[in-house]
């Protein structure tokens, strides 16, 4: 893709706003539309766009596959960990009442934590699947498509 200068310039312009938007959707999921899943997917799209235009090798240098692998399980662990934390301090599984000061404060923090878990898992899973497909794909010439 070295000669597609328009694609390279446009995607370089687009990637930062995409990531900022993903973070906005992640952290404002309880106020505006969206949440962990949406944020994770949008975050992954930024990396996939980079991988498409600049090559998977360049993308995995930014985000090594080992990091993707750890992040995939880290998200689930954060989510389940929130649940087990509630169990440990004597509440029901995933009962956010156990976090912070209780009440709405606890709900907000609980939701923030589990959405973070969902976001991390979804983003890394999407990027991981993309890498799994793309790094097996032989290099195609433009005419082959």
């Amino acid at each position: 893709m070295d000669h597609h200068s328009i694609l390279r310039v446009v995607s370089k312009l687009l990637i930062p706003p995409i990531i900022v938007y993903a973070l906005y959707v992640q952290w404002h999921g309880d106020f505006g539309p969206g949440g962990g899943f949406q944020a994770g997917v949008i975050f992954a799209v930024a990396f996939i766009l980079y991988g498409l235009v600049f090559g998977v090798e360049a993308m995995t240098e930014v985000l090594p596959t080992s990091v993707i692998r750890v992040a995939m399980s880290l998200g689930v662990l954060i989510y389940a960990g929130t649940g087990f934390y509630a169990l440990l301090v004597g509440h029901n599984f995933l009962d956010y009442e156990s976090i912070g000061h209780g009440g709405h404060h606890a709900q907000e923090w609980g939701i923030l934590l589990v959405e973070l878990g969902v976001g991390i898992t979804v983003a890394s899973v999407m990027i991981g699947i993309f890498v799994a497909f793309a790094s097996r794909t032989p290099k195609l010439k433009d005419e082959d498509w």
Binding site: P33, Q38, G75, V122
Partner: protein
Amino acid sequence: MMTGISLAAIVNVLLFTFLVMTAIAIVRVRHLFAVAMLSGVFSLLSAGLFVALDAVDVAFTEAAVGAGISTVLMLGTMALTVTREKTTKRSPVLPVFVCVVTGAALVYSTLDMPAFGTAQAPIHEHVAPDYIARTPDDIGVPNIVTGILASYRGYDTLGETTVIFTAAVAVILLLGSFSRKKQKRTDKE
């Protein structure tokens, strides 16, 4: 200005028309690259429909997953396999018959469904009013959807996250690219 026809109705009719046109194009085109791109267009149009239905979060999930990621994955699969659809010599009568009968049954069943976008649909009349009434007191977040997904239905969402994780583990085990790529790189060096 025309009276009686709202802008939303015109947009909906336009979107559905384009959706049908895209579907017909997908059936007719043989080149799989074009088919993958058209299915991306199909997802983007559906995202437009979700916006018209005020489901913005569903809309950008559809735009990112349907139009973005799944198109890329389809292209990736295509690059691993073939780029043109195989033509078969079998007679198309039976498949067409099955499709027409199924389609007719589906259209017939939509006659009993509530009108498009109506507020009186059953889904809005069972648990939804209860959640809307209780969420400000119980959870206190302005986005009720998030309150339901992450707090009332926290178990379900944990299950969903685990499903996504399991899917990725399965794909990576099947394609096995993560470790192999590293070996290649060390070979080069």
